[in-house]
Amino acid sequence: MSIESLDPDDVDAADILGSAIERREDPALITGEAEYTDDIQLPEMLHMAILRSQHGHAEISDVDTGAAEEMDGVVAVYTHDDVADEAVSRDGSLLIPTGWLLDSLRQVDHPVLAKDKVRYQGDAIAVVVAEDRYVAHDATNAIDVDYERLDASADPDAALDGEAGQLHDDAEGNVAFDWEIGDEERTEEAFDDAAHTVSLDLENQLLIANAMEPRAAVADYHPGTDELDVFMTSQNPHLHRLLMSGVIGHPEHKLRVKAPDVGGGFGCKIHHYADEALVALVARDLERPVKWTSTRTEGYKTDAPGRGHVTTAELAMDDDGNITGLRVDTKANLGAYLSTFAPAVPTYLYGTLLSGQYDIPAIHASVTGAYTNVPPVDAYRGAGRPEASFLVERLASLGAREAGIDPAEFRKKNFVPDNAFPYQTQVAVEYDSGEYGKPMEKALETVDYDAFRERQEEAREEGRYLGIGFSCYIEACGLAPSELAGQLGAQAGLWESSLVRFHPSGTVTAFCGTSGHGQGHGTTYAQIVANELGIPYEDVEVVEGDTDEIPQGMGTYGSRSAAVGGSALVKSSQKLVEKAREIAAHQLEADPADVEFEGGEFGVSGTDRSLGIKEIAQQSYLAHDMPDDMEPGLEATSFYDPDNFVFPFGTHVAVVEVDPESGEIEFENYVAVDDVGNQINPKIVEGQIHGGVAQGIGQALYEGAVYDGNAQLLTGSMQDYAVPKSLHIPDMETESTVTPCPHNPLGVKGVGEAGTIAAPQAVVNAVTDALEPFGVDTVEMPMTAERVWNAVNEQATADGGDAADATDADTATDADADTGGEN
């Protein structure tokens, strides 16, 4: 069901929260008026380009910048030693920090410019600053680097086996950490006693975020005040300011980080990279504005990729198909250095979600983090949770097949029952609320499941192979309760801050420390604040993404903005209303306890005396008649720290037809039923689901960062890395159920990552369901036609039959040999 947008003018003020109004962001974005970082032009601005390693792993014996420095238009060239000069670095560490620690973590140095060694293709070696962007790039080509190549590997298994060569002296065997969660002994017992078990070896491939806007930064230094402005593609300007302050040695209060319009992030603009810090550093040194904009190829080599797991997972069941245990062993690719949130992603954002929607009495997971010769790996949309949900839902489908139970029934019988919430899992987290049967029933109804199975049967008789795949996902969003995050290793609190300020004329500016980059916060936050204050929606302006305007903040990621940022806005609004209530009581000569607030009006109960909140705002600034000891003005700042994560859930169903002769997959339908709690703006929710599912389908069918044996990226442009196109994504049917979050004031659960978490396994399960007659129970992602074809034919060969239409083992082997970098 498609949601119809509403003109905000047609919505009653009382209904603004929860209405599918059109976005106020759009007029600037559809007219070209929006300002993205690369649109910024400052007087006397210089352009920076970065020379990056050609090799995945190499010693550097010499960097000769002489020819580059002599080129017309080149202003400066910096190498590691140049930036290390105290006049340039001040007291900055020049090391990129990680923001999450684990007990077993082996931290390694990550210099902003490589010193003696490069550890991934893309590692920065030198920067050129020139009058013109073309000249800056030309000059990087004139720098001569002497490399001595070392063994490299992009694969965590190989890196841990010693095939990659040692990346860091401080991480023997390339082990970044060893981590585990759950009860190993009880899980082993569950497997010993199991009636059925299934096992799955899988690779959750490395993905590149591909935000349409490449990363970019413009820095502008003001020597008179020592103020340094950095405009950059950021999902969290305050976090970038804090980290950059230490890296480049600039006091936090003299550093401004502003995110102008940002063209998507999906995680890759959370992290602190060397590049943006270098822009700030050289702008300060040269005392001129400097711009750097990543090329797409540069982005492919440096934007933090996500996923990258190699996993063995097993499920134990009793005679009746009840899940009794889950065991997981994962090798996680962390790349060449530790990125900002890297240690958290394959551990606490992964292992804690392994119970899925199921009541599993015993779980154990072990994860080894591996340093490899790919860019530092970090959060990409979903971050850890897609990897968890993928293996749980793949195992649920395989388990159902093993136990001889319909996959929908198998899931339903293992769901956490409705009366068990809050539900304590065996992997640390406690689910807040859920009714897992509801989205499943709605999904079954929408796809007309019984009729589908009949159609499937008939089609098979005609030699057509339809398949249906379920994904009953769970995610933990609303990052995060700060105390808990601290216990788990976070080096920052994960609260959110807001300021709601009435102006004397009665309009409001609401500031929030999140930083939207396409989510429509300007619209949804205004809906929240207008509702809380009882004032017209158009009277609320929202400001985000600028450390000079907003007191503090933690940014936008982990589907946290509505749940944590939105709640902070509610909290500030409520504080503001309480102050206004006291002013109203004073002016109405009533006890504040007798003054009720509704629809923007303060009224004395039992009387017709009332004052509007806008009038109170005006009075608060006039300050002619205030309660004793009350300060003038009407604004409130708050810090909201959530009590728990929020746990959105839902059921996604993919219906596909697979042609075993060509290996091609076609969608017949894709149904998404999501429960993201209360919805502030259902149209925006729908858009988030659509986009999330598209990225999930991308992972299932098309995408993957592919490296060769020397850790050279083979998918280094948009012509090689398959970002799904319009023809690749089917029309989806989206539905929702609503189970409010019980512990935040809006009852919201977050929606930004749901689709991406849910979709891959729905599609893989559908394909394996379609190919069940061929005995195919798994196909690795991305499920290219070739892989599907091979799966059909290899299985047929293994079975000794010729089910797959006269294809023999030789042909399959030839095809394998031809795949080149495919895997």
């Binding site: 947008s5 007029p27 559809i30 070209g32 993205y36 797409r296 948009m718």
Partner: protein, 200 residues
């Protein structure tokens, strides 16, 4: 590097500028002339964020040299609206939530308007085919397809429904001389795509 004097007529305004042989059209538009509504998303003509109209046809300005466009008319996203009155494609994108971060949107709309000129009443499949040179990472495309359908309906309800064509609806002279064109359409015609009728 050799410099060349070129003339570009952008959204109806003639500009004379000096560019290097290698200057890309998109950089001439953005860096030299300040038309920053056209975005750069890749260097390989894959993503379509940089799509503009060159003499009326949608082209990717990141793989076209500015000197190749010498003497041409270029229409960008900044020229779509007429004094604050949105073009139907813009209205369609807003009403259907056809954009999120907005970075691909200018290029997507320029391709879509070209598509609607060629095919005023496309099927969903034809819209998806027509947009395959433009990548969007946010929306999953569904609401973009809805937006283009929405625009086709709006545009069709004017000139097209009365027997005219979308090309006429977009082109000033044709539009003004079309007695069947609606009043709203006539108003819009004078500023948008002034040289539409002269396309090759």
């Amino acid at each position: 590097m050799a410099e060349h004097d070129i003339t570009l007529t952008v959204n109806g305004t003639e500009h004379e500028l000096e560019v290097e042989s290698r200057t890309l059209l998109v950089h001439a538009l953005r860096d030299e002339l300040g038309y920053t509504g056209t975005n750069v998303g890749c260097e390989t003509s894959t993503c379509g964020a940089c799509t503009v109209h060159l003499d009326g046809d949608a082209v990717k300005s990141c793989t076209l040299l500015a000197v190749q466009a010498d003497g041409a008319t270029v229409d960008t996203v900044e020229g779509l609206a007429d004094h604050g009155e949105f073009h139907p494609i813009q209205t369609g994108f807003q009403e259907e939530h056809g954009l999120q971060c907005g970075y691909c949107t200018p290029g997507m709309m320029m391709t879509a308007t070209d598509l609607l000129e060629e095919n005023p009443d496309p099927s969903r499949e034809e819209i998806r085919e027509g947009l395959e040179g433009n990548l969007c990472r946010c929306t999953g495309y569904q609401n973009i397809v809805n937006a283009v359908e929405n625009a086709a309906e709006t545009m069709g309800s004017g000139a097209v429904a009365d027997g005219g064509s979308v090309e006429e609806l977009a082109g000033g002279d044709a539009c003004a001389s079309d007695p069947n064109a609606g009043a709203e359409t006539t108003d819009r015609c004078e500023v948008r795509w002034p040289d539409e009728g002269e396309s090759e």
